[in-house]
Symmetry: C2
Subunit: 450 residues, 2 copies
């Protein structure tokens, strides 16, 4: 089992480099560098959703105006798993804006899905693991009281190793054979792999049809289903072929986590931790105090973690949909992580496991550069340990494997590899190609035997 290497000891930390305050400031100004800091304090109310009385949230769309340093109070209302009124986080993209519904029992509310279905034909894209669990439920939610809608489905093999052109063609084949026209709607029912493939298929089928995301894993609920990045892997690199294509809506029924294996659950937490590290120090601190609840699948804690993650993601995507800069910061640990997934073999480690190890490497490199102090390094190790996530790449990874895959990373520009690195106090990061190459080499050698 791949996780046997997950908790191997991390390499010893290098001694902290001398602080370079003047260089620090200079780099903040560099055109190759985007600095991202937690914004100044804002009233706690900016984080809280409007209540219509008691503990019931209004279902009206509430604009996500999260402020990273807002008070990290627990929003009890979203934690009430029995509530049928969803929390709504809006992704603000002009005429392509859409809502993310979060809550328990949402698949029992047909209207939430049906209001976003265009046309009379629906194609549900799912996989062999999820179909037996939720396909009937989703089909019912799409058609109950709505006999004009007909639902087709295509059931793909489960796993990152199937996120390729060959599997994608099965979706196109089903759509064409079913004679779906431009007014149809694709529904992604599953984890990140299903969402990415279904989204890309929707982007390309007839040059674009509507689609809806119903993510069923923590990974998809806190990250991949939001923001419109879709695509498939190439055998030489992850997500190299795809499209920016936004869904009509994202429906997160937190009850679907009840059937999620522990390892999948932990994998998603790697992205939750990421939001804290790159832009939301208070959320990170909340996680440090509540990770045991998340690991125990406390519904209230999970609802809060999902909502706050979606708010962070929605804000970043609204500001930089096509990843011209800011959005790249969501990829903390992903450049190293993608190298692990590609080099070690798709499907060997889960995406979040690779991201966790990649985050440790990015944090290590940030520390070698003198950009963060060792307390952050320690806190990252601690929280990953709590989440039972890896803190080092698999033993078989070599420096050359990392370098070879990282060379085709999408963040390479004119031959220069840009990385997301932490810089400054907790909750701050930079996206930059302006770093000492030796630090990268040192990190790679520290984490690889050869």
């Amino acid at each position: 089992m791949a996780l046997s290497t997950a908790n191997s000891l991390s390499p010893s930390l290098p001694s902290k480099l001398a602080s370079k305050q003047s260089e620090f400031l200079a780099r903040i100004q560099s055109p190759h560098t985007i600095a991202l800091r937690s914004p100044p304090s804002a009233p706690p109310s900016s984080l809280q959703l409007k209540r219509s009385g008691g503990s019931v949230l209004t279902a009206s769309k509430v604009k996500s105006k999260i402020c990273a340093s807002a008070a990290p109070v627990m929003d009890q209302s979203v934690g009430e798993a029995s509530s049928k009124v969803p929390t709504v986080v809006e992704v603000d993209l002009g005429n392509r804006s859409y809502p993310i519904y979060i809550g328990s029992g949402l698949l029992d509310q047909p209207d939430l899905l049906q209001r976003h279905v265009h046309g009379k034909r629906v194609l549900v894209v799912t996989n062999t693991t999820i179909a037996p669990l939720y396909l009937d439920k989703v089909t019912d939610a799409l058609t109950r009281g709505n006999p004009n809608v007909s639902v087709e489905s295509v059931i793909l093999p489960d796993g990152e190793q199937y996120k390729n052109m060959e599997t994608l063609e099965k979706v196109f084949d089903k759509a064409v054979q079913s004679r779906l026209d431009r007014r149809c709607t694709f529904v992604a029912l599953g984890g990140g792999v299903i969402g990415d493939m279904c989204g890309f298929a929707a982007a390309a089928y007839l040059r674009g049809v509507n689609f809806i995301q119903i993510p069923t894993t923590v990974m998809a609920q806190v990250d991949s289903s939001v923001g419109g990045k879709t695509g498939i892997n190439h055998r030489l690199g992850k997500n190299l072929i795809g499209a920016f294509y936004q869904p009509q809506s994202v429906l997160i029924d937190t009850d679907t986590l009840n059937t999620l294996p522990d390892r999948e659950l932990a994998s998603g937490l790697a992205e939750v931790i990421k939001y804290g590290l790159i832009r939301d120090a208070e959320f990170f601190e909340w996680q440090e105090k509540n990770m045991h609840k998340l690991m125990a699948r406390d519904p209230s804690a999970f609802a809060y973690a999902i909502k706050r993650s979606c708010e962070n993601k929605a804000e970043v995507v609204s500001l930089d949909e096509k990843e011209s800069g800011l959005r790249a910061t969501l990829n903390l640990g992903h450049t190293f992580g993608h190298a692990i997934e590609t080099g070690f073999g798709y499907g060997q480690w889960l995406h979040g496991e690779a991201v966790a190890a990649g985050t440790v490497m990015a944090v290590d490199m940030s520390y070698r550069l003198g950009w963060i102090d060792d307390s952050i390094v320690k806190r990252v190790h601690n929280i990953l340990r709590q989440a039972k996530l890896p803190n080092a790449p698999p033993d078989t990874m070599t420096v050359e494997m990392f370098k070879s895959v990282m060379a085709v990373d999408k963040k390479v520009a004119d031959g220069l590899l840009r990385l997301i690195l932490l810089k400054g106090p907790l909750g701050n990061c930079v996206f930059t190609g302006d770093y000492d190459r030796k630090a990268l080499d040192d990190t790679l050698h520290a984490f690889c035997k050869s």
Copy 2:
């Protein structure tokens, strides 16, 4: 040779249906119908490009503000094949606007290409026919005086039958193996098949990189290279998988037509004729008088036909980029034509040959509906005969083959097949699902033996 069936006699024309003036007006108002008429007269100057003196055109971008009924005078300046100053037609799409350069010897002007290359890496996508003719010339134009730019190329097999996922993967493979990053530029060098595939590859590679079109066929120069429709065929239907994705620029060197086979040349004229029929009566009349010059490859006549076609296309695309209505009118004859291409086998007939036969069928149906008078039917037959284009589908096509392919046409909406049909005086058409199904059946049976 496929063209042996091209000039078979058309079926006898049905007697004209009784005129239904009140129904005509009602349909113009129908939400399923988009009426498109030639606009009222405008000053002839609206068609003419700005001159900087003598016969030399200014190279500055001249907004295409074509008016379909402007005086159809020959624009001598664009006909001067020796001129090195390009005519420029602008496609107006906000921040995705781009110029179409038209003229002789443009590939000898490196600046025209280089000004639109982003980054330092270029991938030229071409085919086995075009590569020996123009790849060196294009590579030279990309790199002359510009040693920082490196050029890779991928040479695909030539023909519509290769416009599929398997061939597309060769482009991705080359791009990934060459480690091209997001700042690279793809260049499509060839006809419509190359342009469509390279454009889709550019849309999907790393979720979108820049690309430039260098069309080398009449078909691509007057139609497919302009407007951002990209994609590949599915075995069950044409262009079912793709993207709307605009190029940085389109460079039309009319000298490339010197190497174009007669059959390919005629194929492109089907689209030229289309512009006249759907929206530009004066252009159609010009073609009636000048088709012999086009068939004799008169450079002056060709330069004018290309420019005026691009102006028509640019205007339509600017008004309706994503084909929500108006743009569909550019597909006159294409629904029948796609059925021929798919049913008869990709690559058996050229696209324009199938469109020509499809146009005859659409015109026949328009006449059966009583929407046009028989003079238009005769003029369409005459001009296609002059252009040595088919005026009926291949003998092997059956009514069932047509119906089966047309059912997956992209213009089907909620099960209703919408068609582009002529209605009213020359130069007017409608895009509608509101027609008598019997007329469609009658047309199919008139053109098929079974």
